[in-house]
């Protein structure tokens, strides 16, 4: 139960973390994860310290997570492994997939430094610079959904990603207007093409601008800009209610007041029951179970918590995490681990001394999940779609490389059990929790440990314990969360 909660509300636990949580009542474990606001935010100050997982800087550059995308990727994986607020990172990943925006398009337009800031800038890194898109998602991670929708609509990363800067009164461009309904809120089937055109007109005038020292890629940055002259001031009529009184028409407004159009539409989208259902379903699949049909009662309860609590995300999460279904052992390991979940958990459970998160970057790409680079605005194809022959090879080979890197630590941990290969196996299966292996599978592992006669020497432990680690972490059984 404890391990399940730590996997789902975070990215698993190291043996030491698990030991520390053991004495804490389950309700408290959940509460501390959910209400993480009181937990420290000092994770970035731990980067580079020897007791934590390592990072690798680019040649000749200091670690620059706000301006170099590979460093940003390392910072985020570091946080997933070491943050005292794991749910914050988990939700940031969930929302990254929901508002899927790809760095490469931004970098092609504005260069790597500015594009990295657009994705995940820490505002404290440069006076005046706004939070990057993922940092905004962290800030809203368990907060107001309409607030988050608006923040995304106005975020310069989203502006450029979905061409809002091209969407003007004379040449409306439907890219963002379509996706905010199709992917970010209502879902397909709950709006018409006419609504798409109306939504495009709502967001006319939303633009971005370069601020700061424009000559420097490192110290200039993009901010939101509303251009009244580009805004379509006519009324916009939708097929669904925009206002609580049932009114479907956003009234004609002066250009200077035109930004209000988007607020009206976003609130309507957030209030729509289809949005509540869609968010509830997605959260259910992310946190409870994605291998069978969703539990309608719980999904409805989550949706109702949202509708009844001012469209607040934490209300949904509270209902979800406090439900009996969340703790039902029948739902354990009923999700396909996302590559990031798999990698972070494997590192936490295997160990990290002398390991750099940079070593996980290419494997993650090969597993199909490069941070800040979802394949398209629809996000990653999750569930069984994570699994292909090449992604399984990547998962297996990552396991091998990690185990190889940690061979001395792993062998040392197994020393107390060296007298018998079966005891080593027993210890290792407990250390790496999974949905459970069949007898033929554990027999294959036992036989592996005895590929040559079992001696339990240091040399043998240093070969077979890492070997067994890769077999377990690379197994089908371990790919579920």
């Amino acid at each position: 139960m404890l391990e399940h909660i730590l996997r789902r509300m975070g990215f698993g636990a190291s043996p030491a973390e698990l030991a520390a949580w053991k004495s804490v009542p389950i309700d408290t474990v959940i509460d501390r994860h959910l209400n993480y606001e009181s937990m420290t935010t000092d994770h970035d100050s731990k980067i580079g310290r020897p007791e934590y997982v390592g990072i690798t800087t680019s040649a000749g550059r200091p670690f620059s997570p706000n301006t170099l995308i590979n460093d940003a990727r390392q910072r985020w994986l570091f946080r997933m492994i070491h943050s005292q607020r794991p749910l914050e990172e988990k939700m940031a990943l969930f929302w990254h997939n929901h508002f899927a925006t790809a760095y490469s398009k931004l970098a092609g337009a504005v260069g790597q430094e500015r594009a990295t800031r657009l994705m995940d800038n820490d505002p404290s890194s440069l006076a005046g610079s706004p939070a990057g898109q993922i940092q905004v998602l962290r800030e809203y991670a368990t907060g107001s959904f309409p607030g988050m929708l608006l923040a995304m609509a106005k975020h310069p990363a989203m502006i450029y990603w979905l061409d809002s800067q091209l969407n003007t009164r004379t040449r409306p461009q439907e890219n963002f207007g379509r996706e905010i309904m199709e992917l970010f809120s209502l879902g397909i089937g709950n709006y018409t093409e006419a609504d798409v055109y109306a939504a495009a007109r709502v967001f006319t005038g939303y633009n971005w601008q370069l601020v700061g020292d424009r000559a420097s890629n490192d110290t200039s940055y993009y901010t939101f800009l509303y251009r009244p002259n580009d805004h379509d001031t006519n009324a916009k009529t939708f097929t669904f209610a925009i206002y609580p009184d049932g009114g479907k028409t956003i009234p004609a407004r002066a250009a200077a007041a035109g930004e209000q159009d988007a607020l009206d539409l976003i609130l309507a989208l957030a209030r729509h029951p289809a949005t509540a259902q869609r968010l509830a379903q997605r959260l259910y699949k992310f946190f409870v179970n994605e291998t069978s049909e969703p539990d309608t009662a719980l999904v409805n309860a989550i949706a109702n918590s949202y509708l009844g609590n001012n469209y607040n995300i934490k209300s949904m999460l509270r209902t979800l995490f406090q439900s009996s279904q969340f703790r039902d052992p029948a739902n354990f390991f009923q999700r396909y681990s996302w590559p990031l979940e798999f990698v972070a958990r494997a590192i936490k459970e295997t160990g990290w001394t002398g390991y750099s998160v940079n070593s996980a970057m290419t494997p993650l790409t090969n597993m199909g999940q490069q941070l800040y680079e979802p394949p398209d605005v629809n996000g990653w194809a999750t569930g069984p779609d994570w699994i292909s022959t090449s992604s399984m090879l990547s998962r297996m080979n990552f396991s091998a490389a990690l185990a190889q890197n940690q061979r001395f630590n792993l062998a040392r941990d197994a020393q107390p059990y060296r007298g018998s290969s079966d005891r080593v196996l027993e210890y290792m299966l407990a250390r790496f929790p999974s949905m459970g292996f069949s007898t033929p599978a554990t027999t294959a592992m036992a036989d592996y440990l005895r590929s040559t006669a079992w001696t339990g020497t240091d040399a043998q432990l240093q070969a077979r314990v890492p070997g067994l680690t890769r077999l377990i972490v690379g197994s089908g059984e371990y790919q579920f969360n």
Binding site: E290, P384, D385, T389, M392, Q404, A444, R464
Partner: protein
């Protein structure tokens, strides 16, 4: 995107699992299916290709007036003659390689392909082209359904996806298509080296050979692992392939090198999926340089290298390449010197058995709303040839399949005679 796949795992994983051949039988099957067997290479241009910049009706006055900054000047196009309706056409100037294939009579250009009420959404559009259905876009793909008709047990390498994700067209009920982005990287590495590494591989193979019927999702993952482990050695032979000619070093060129290698090494693959992206050119398409010019360089140079390679090896006669995109783009350029999402576009087919030439008629780009070759108030190209009739022709006349059952309807009548 993933919904139907989940459904498939729930409903059909047992069949999927046992549809795979046991490893020892695979080489025999591959041999029996034979190197002489015909194959198809599908090249998908991701993002919605601006067909009017690929195949250019350069004498149409409206082409120039509606595209003031991005029209390719008539003097620069590579002329390929006139289509059946008398419209003079030219290839994009950077498509010199395709021009030579066209001149050799091995490139068929099919103009104005699409379907009624064409979707302007990338995702819906891709799924419609993938499923060959406008009503059920979350089901299996047309190539996947073709693979499902292969006699059991099916060799896991019957198809080869060069992308990481399984695209909709390859989604099958009974066959899991391996994703092999790079033959050289497609390997199993050890936590140890030498004999100890061999022990690991043996054990991992044994662990994954357990396919529990009561745990379908685990069965799915384990059978995928099995498919990977059982095909490693054959894929490794592909990694040793060294083409005699030079391919572009970009991803598209490398993917085509792998495809040619698979053919050269006779591993028995019948369906290959290759794609190249960047076609969502909403802004700054360029003319004699720039974004679209570079896209054409990637496409044309890659296909030409592939064509020359196969030609030199005598493999051209067993190969058919189909090129398509999810939609064409808006006729008039937008305010950003690019083009927005449109409707009808061109398909291309090339190969040793292809009857080259121009099929179908070009659109008339006149702004008259009644213009029958256009739709959306003369904004977009209206389709003339249903894309499924092209699929039907390939299924029936090339792959020896039954297009009516694979496509779920009869599209044979409108098919151009490119084979």
């Amino acid at each position: 995107m993933s919904y139907s796949r989940r459904q498939f795992v729930k409903g059909g994983v047992t069949a999927f699992t046992f549809g795979f051949a046991a490893p020892q039988a695979i080489c025999d099957i591959a041999f029996a299916q034979g190197a002489a067997a015909r194959n198809i290479v599908v090249v998908y241009l991701s993002g919605g290709n601006d067909s009017l910049s690929t195949i250019i009706p350069y004498r149409d006055a409206n082409y120039t007036t509606r595209r003031p900054t991005i029209a390719i000047p008539a003097a620069n196009v590579l002329q390929i003659g006139t289509d059946p309706s008398g419209v003079e056409l030219g290839l994009h100037p950077r498509l010199t390689g395709l021009k030579s294939i066209f001149d050799a009579g091995r490139l068929a250009i099919i103009q104005r392909t699409g379907y009624a009420n064409q979707s302007r959404s990338h995702f819906t559009g891709f799924d419609i082209w993938g499923t060959a259905s406008v009503s059920n876009t979350s089901g299996t793909g047309w190539l996947g359904r073709y693979l499902d008709t292969q006699p059991s047990p099916v060799d896991p390498l019957v198809a080869w996806n060069t992308q990481r994700e399984t695209p909709r067209p390859l989604m099958a009920r009974l066959v899991g298509v391996p994703a092999i982005t790079s033959p050289a990287a497609y390997q199993f590495s050890g936590a140890n080296t030498g004999t100890e590494a061999t022990y690991e591989r043996t054990a991992q193979t044994r662990i994954s050979s357990h396919i529990p019927v009561d745990r379908p999702h685990l069965a799915f993952v384990n059978s995928t692992t099995q498919a990977a482990l059982s095909t490693l050695d054959r894929v490794a032979t592909v990694a040793t392939y060294r083409p005699a000619n030079t391919y572009p070093t970009n991803g598209f060129g490398q993917a085509l090198t792998a495809v040619a290698g698979a053919m050269n090494k006779q591993i028995g693959t019948k369906v290959f999926w290759v794609q190249t992206g960047g076609f969502d050119t909403h802004a700054t398409q360029g003319v004699n340089q720039g974004a679209y010019f570079n896209l054409m360089a990637t496409l044309g140079d890659g296909l030409k290298a592939f064509y020359d390679d196969l030609s030199a090896q005598g493999l051209l006669g067993s190969t058919l390449v189909l090129v398509y995109s999810e939609f064409g783009r808006r006729i008039s350029e937008n305010g950003s010197a690019g083009t927005d999402h449109g409707a009808g576009g061109n398909m291309m087919v090339l190969g040793g058995a292809v009857r080259g030439g121009i099929y179908g008629s070009a659109p008339n780009l006149s702004l008259d709303p009644a213009n029958p070759t256009l739709e959306n108030n003369a904004g977009d190209v209206k389709y003339e040839t249903d894309f499924r009739s092209v699929y039907a022709k390939i299924l029936d006349s090339w792959l020896g399949s039954n297009s009516v059952s694979v496509l779920g309807a009869d599209y044979r009548s409108g098919a151009p005679g490119f084979i």
